[in-house]
C-alpha cells in the first residue's frame, strides 16, 4: 500500500472514531451540551482539556521553531505550561465558585456593567480570531501534505472541513470525543519520537535521550549537535543568543495569555466542585507535559537528522548530491514536501550538490568562496513542516507517518472548531441576546451563531493565506492579546475589591488597544502584508518584539484600571460581598446559565 492511501486510511479511521463516539455519547446527553465535564472525573476532564488546549501551534509548529533556533525558543515550552500554574492558583477555583458559564458573564457581573461585558466580548473575539488564523496555517500545512497538494489548496480544503466540523458542533462538547482526540494526538507525537530517540541515543524516553549520548559518535547528543551546526555557521543550539528582556517578556506573555483564553477557562466552570477545579488544572498539565517534555527532544533530534542528511559524510566532506535527492529513497520526503511549496532547494553553483549552510556568517562566506559555493542551497525549509515530516526524515515505517498526519489534524481541528464555537457564542449569546436584542428567538440565535462562525472562518482563511508568522508565532500573538485584556480583569476581579466598573473597562480597553496597535505596527494593519511600519527585527520600543508585547499590555491594563478606579466611585457593597463569596469554596452550587 502506498503512503498516500495509508495516510488517508489513518486520517479517515480517526475521524470515524470521533464521529462514532460523538453519536454514541450524544444519545443521552444532549441536555448536558454546555456542561461537558460535569460529573466527569478530574483525570478525564484534564485529558479533554489537554486536547482542547494543544493545537496546531503545540503539535505541528512548536518543535520546528525549537529545532531551528535551539535554546532561545525554550520560551514556548515554559510559557505554555507555566500558564497553568496561574490558572490553577489565581483563577480556576474562584471562577468555578462564581458558577456561570462564560468569562464575559463573570466580568459583566463582577464589574456590574453591561459595558464591561461587551468589552470583554470584544477582547475575546479579537484574541480568538487571531488564534484561528494560526490554526488555519497549521491546517493548511497538514492538508497540503497529506493530500499531496499545494499549501494554498490545502488551506482552502482545510477551511471547509473545519467549518463543517464546527457546525456539527455538538461533537466538541462531548468530553469523550476529546479524550479520543487526545489519545490519537499524544500517540502520534510520542511514537515517532521514541523511535528516533532509540535510533540516535538508544534511550526509549525522548526527554532522557535528549541529554544522553549520541550512539554514532559516542559524544553527548547536544554537544555533537552544537558542533555540527557551528561548523555550518549557524548559532550553537544550546547557547543563549536572543535578547534576554525580550525572552522574559515573551515567556510571561504566553503564561498570562494561557490564563486569559476563554476556551480553556471555560472547562473549569463546569467541574463538579471547587476542589476539582484545582485538581483538574493539575491533571490537564500532566497530559500536556507528556507532549511538552517530548517536544524539545523532537526538535533537537530532527535538526540532527536533517543536518546529517544534507551532509551524509560529515560537514567537512562533500554535501548530498542532487542525484541522491532525486533517486535515493532516504530523500523521498524532500520530493513530497516540495509539492506543498514549503520546502525547496536549488543547485545555485551547478556543482551537482546541495550545500546547506548559513550564508550570512562571515567565516562561512570565506569557506564558501574557497569551495566555489554561491549561497545556501536548501533555499526553503518552512518551520511548520518539521513535525509532520519528522518520521519521513528518520525513515520510519509508513504507518507512523499516517498516524502523525491523523494526530496533526486532530490537534488543529479540535482547537479551531472550539475557538469558532467560542466566537459564535460570544456573538450570538453575549452580544446579540445579552445586549442588542434580548427577545431573539432560539432559531435566530442559532442562525446568528452560524453566520458569525462563517464570517470568522472566512477572515481567518484569508489572513491564513499570508499569515503574520509560523503557526506558533501567530498563536503567540493571540496569547499576547488575551494576556493584555482578559487576564488582568479576571485577576483584579477576584483579588481586589477596589477595582470598579470604570477601572475595569478602561484597563481592558487600554490593554487591548495598545497591544493591538503595537502588533499591527509590526505585523501590518489587520495582518495585511506590507502595511507595517516596523519589523520585529528592529522593534519600536527597545528590543520588545510584537509577540512579547502582551506582558507590557497587561501591565498597562493593571495600571490604568488602578488609577481610574481610585478616581471614580467606589465599588458598591453588594459587589464586595460577591467577591468575598467567590473567595471561599463553601456554598458552591452547580453552574447556571444566565
Amino acid at each position: 500500500m502506498d503512503q498516500f492511501t495509508l495516510n488517508l486510511l489513518f486520517v479517515g479511521a480517526s475521524f470515524a472514531l470521533y464521529i462514532g463516539i460523538a453519536i454514541w455519547a450524544r444519545a443521552g446527553s444532549t441536555s448536558e451540551f454546555y456542561a461537558a465535564g460535569r460529573g466527569v472525573h478530574p483525570v478525564t476532564n484534564g485529558m479533554a482539556t489537554a486536547a482542547d488546549w494543544m493545537s496546531a501551534a503545540s503539535f505541528i509548529s512548536m518543535a520546528g521553531l525549537i529545532a531551528f533556533t535551539g535554546y532561545d525558543n525554550s520560551t514556548f515550552l515554559m510559557g505554555w505550561t507555566g500558564g497553568y500554574v496561574l490558572l490553577a492558583l489565581l483563577l480556576a477555583p474562584y471562577l468555578r465558585k462564581f458558577g456561570k458559564f462564560t468569562v464575559s458573564e463573570f466580568i459583566g457581573d463582577r464589574f456590574y456593567s453591561k459595558t464591561a461585558r461587551m468589552v470583554a466580548v470584544l477582547c475575546l473575539i479579537v484574541a480568538s480570531t487571531t488564534y484561528v488564523i494560526g490554526q488555519m496555517t497549521g491546517v493548511g500545512v497538514a492538508f497540503g501534505r497529506f493530500l499531496e497538494i499545494s499549501n494554498t489548496s490545502g488551506l482552502l480544503i482545510g477551511a471547509c472541513v473545519v467549518f463543517a466540523y464546527a457546525v456539527f458542533g455538538g461533537m466538541k462538547g462531548v468530553t469523550y470525543t476529546q479524550v479520543a482526540q487526545y489519545v490519537v494526538l499524544i500517540m502520534a507525537y510520542t511514537i515517532p519520537a521514541i523511535f528516533i530517540s532509540l535510533q540516535l541515543t538508544g534511550n526509549p524516553v525522548p526527554a532522557l535521550g535528549l541529554f544522553g549520548d549520541h550512539v554514532a559518535s559516542g559524544e553527548p547528543l547536544l554537544a555533537k549537535l552544537d558542533q555540527i551546526v557551528r561548523e555550518l555557521g549557524f548559532n550553537e543550539y544550546t547557547t543563549h543568543h536572543s535578547d534576554t528582556l525580550n525572552m522574559v517578556l515573551f515567556t510571561l506573555s504566553l503564561m498570562i495569555g494561557t490564563a486569559g483564553l476563554p476556551h480553556v477557562i471555560m472547562r473549569f466552570f463546569t467541574v463538579p466542585r471547587v476542589a476539582d477545579a484545582r485538581w483538574s488544572a493539575g491533571w490537564a498539565l500532566v497530559f500536556i507535559a507528556l507532549l511538552y517534555l517530548t517536544a524539545p527532544a523532537v526538535g533537537a533530534m530532527a535538526r540532527m537528522n536533517i543536518t546529517e542528511l544534507m551532509w551524509p559524510n560529515g560537514t567537512n566532506e562533500q554535501a548530498v548530491s542532487v542525484e541522491d535527492i532525486a533517486n535515493n529513497p532516504k530523500y523521498d520526503w524532500m520530493q513530497t514536501w516540495q509539492k506543498t511549496g514549503l520546502l525547496d532547494w536549488e543547485d545555485k553553483n551547478g556543482d551537482g550538490r546541495i550545500q546547506y549552510y548559513n550564508d550570512a556568517n562571515a567565516a562561512m562566506q570565506e569557506k564558501a568562496a574557497a569551495n566555489g559555493w554561491t549561497g545556501n542551497e536548501l533555499t526553503k525549509f518552512n518551520r511548520d513542516i518539521l513535525v509532520l515530516a519528522n518520521p519521513e526524515i528518520a525513515n520510519l515505517p509508513g504507518w507512523v507517518i499516517g498516524l502523525v498526519a491523523a494526530g496533526g489534524l486532530a490537534a488543529a481541528l479540535s482547537t479551531a472548531a472550539g475557538l469558532l464555537l467560542a466566537i459564535s457564542s460570544a456573538v450570538s449569546h453575549d452580544l446579540i441576546k445579552g445586549q442588542l436584542n434580548p427577545n431573539i428567538s432560539e432559531k435566530s440565535e442559532l442562525m446568528a451563531a452560524r453566520v458569525a462562525m462563517g464570517v470568522a472562518i472566512v477572515v481567518a482563511t484569508y489572513l491564513g493565506l499570508n499569515p503574520p508568522g509560523f503557526a506558533a508565532q501567530t498563536v503567540a500573538l493571540a496569547f499576547g492579546l488575551a494576556a493584555a485584556s482578559i487576564f488582568p480583569a479576571l485577576m483584579m476581579g477576584i483579588f481586589s475589591t477596589k477595582i470598579n466598573n470604570h477601572g475595569a473597562v478602561a484597563g481592558m480597553l487600554a490593554g487591548l488597544i495598545v497591544t493591538l496597535v503595537y502588533i499591527f505596527l509590526h505585523k501590518g494593519w489587520f495582518f495585511i502584508p506590507d502595511t507595517n511600519s516596523f519589523t520585529d527585527a528592529d522593534p519600536l520600543l527597545g528590543t520588545i518584539k510584537s509577540t512579547s508585547f502582551g506582558a507590557v499590555g497587561a501591565m498597562i491594563n493593571f495600571t490604568v484600571a488602578y488609577v481610574v478606579a481610585s478616581m471614580t466611585k467606589e465599588t458598591p457593597q453588594h459587589i464586595k460581598d460577591l467577591v468575598e463569596s467567590v473567595r471561599v469554596p463553601k456554598g458552591a452550587g452547580a453552574a447556571t446559565d444566565h
Binding site: 525554550s74 515550552l77 515554559m78 500554574v85 490553577a88 544550546t238 534576554t244 476542589a275 484545582r278 488544572a281
Partner: protein, 86 residues
C-alpha cells in the same frame, strides 16, 4: 470565630501560599531557565548545563509539582477553616 473572621483568615493563608508558590514558579522559569542560567553554567547536564535543562524540562516538572501541592494544601486549608464545600 464568626464566618467573616474565618474566611478572612482563610483568605490570608491562601494569599500567602499563592505568593510562595509564585516565587518558586518564577525562580525555576525566569530564574534558573533564563536570568540565572549563566550562574548555573558550571553544572553540566548531558552535553549542556543545568539552566538549559530547567528551560526545557525542569521548569515544567516543577510547575506540575506546584499545582498538585497547592491543590492538596488548599483542600486541607478548606477543612481547617471550615469553609469547604461539604
Amino acid at each position: 470565630m464568626s464566618d467573616k473572621e474565618a474566611s478572612n483568615a482563610y483568605w490570608k493563608a491562601n494569599v500567602r501560599l499563592i505568593l510562595w508558590s509564585l516565587v518558586i514558579w518564577a525562580l525555576v522559569s525566569f530564574g534558573f531557565g533564563i536570568l540565572l542560567r549563566p550562574m548555573l553554567s558550571g553544572i553540566a547536564v548531558g552535553g549542556t548545563d543545568l539552566g538549559f535543562w530547567f528551560a526545557q524540562q525542569g521548569s515544567i516538572l516543577v510547575f506540575l509539582a506546584l499545582i498538585f501541592f497547592y491543590a492538596w494544601r488548599m483542600n486541607k486549608l478548606d477543612a481547617e477553616h471550615g469553609v469547604g464545600e461539604e
